[in-house]
Point group: C2
Chain length 105, copies 2
DNA sequence: ACTTACGGTAAGTTATGACTAACAGCTTAC
DNA sequence: GTAAGCTGTTAGTCATAACTTACCGTAAGT
């Protein structure tokens, strides 16, 4: 049900995280991204395609350039999935400490 | 520099997500986890070691068994990293609908 | 028209890691 | 004591995907 989680697996790659963080400073074309990254331009293009299919970025043609920007949808799916464990994990964490103090509330 | 993000890359593996989700129902020993998973017990043990090093689970010896439970620390690091983009992404999303407005001064 | 800049696609190589099988250590039961 | 159960570790295999080089199409400039 919750599986695949394309957005999460997509951001697992360090290069894609670099691209994503770079886009957080504002929408940019592919070439500008590739210039400041340690990989070739085709690599960036491939990563952007993956990010797009995961709902993490959107693209828009502007003349001969293609502008990419962050899409909140992908981030939302990750957040929702994480929140599923948040309350449970905090409860388990509380239980771990209350073991010594069961008798004295 | 938030890079590496062990917790995020760790949860990118579908088998590890299965183990993690299983632990969300409560602390369990390794054997119980392996019984309901499509992989061997050593595989589960290896995955648990990775989850532990990422701060996503903690373990505690109980007789001859080892009980694993969810650790909120790993989840927290992911949440903090995501929040870094949350406001930015929503802003970009809003800009996409307000369309133009690059007004000349 | 040609030329240059920008970007996506194909093919091929390589490295990472997920998995199984076999072994070793430790704990409880007999 | 020995045996049986539970777990971690090692060695080795195999599949996935990240990357580069080369190529092709398109848009703007000369």
């Amino acid at each position: 049900m919750t599986n695949s989680l394309l957005a999460l697996t997509t951001l697992a790659d360090p290069t894609r995280r670099l691209i994503f963080q770079r886009l957080a400073t504002g929408p940019q074309p592919v070439g500008a991204l590739a210039r400041d990254l340690p990989v070739s331009r085709p690599a960036v293009s491939q990563h952007l395609a993956v990010l797009k299919s995961a709902g993490l970025v959107t693209d828009r043609a502007e003349g001969s350039r293609r502008i990419y920007r962050i899409d909140p949808h992908g981030l939302a799916t990750i957040r929702i999935w994480l929140d599923q464990f948040w309350s449970v994990s905090l409860q388990n964490y509380a239980d771990e400490f209350s073991q010594d103090e069961e008798a004295a509330p």
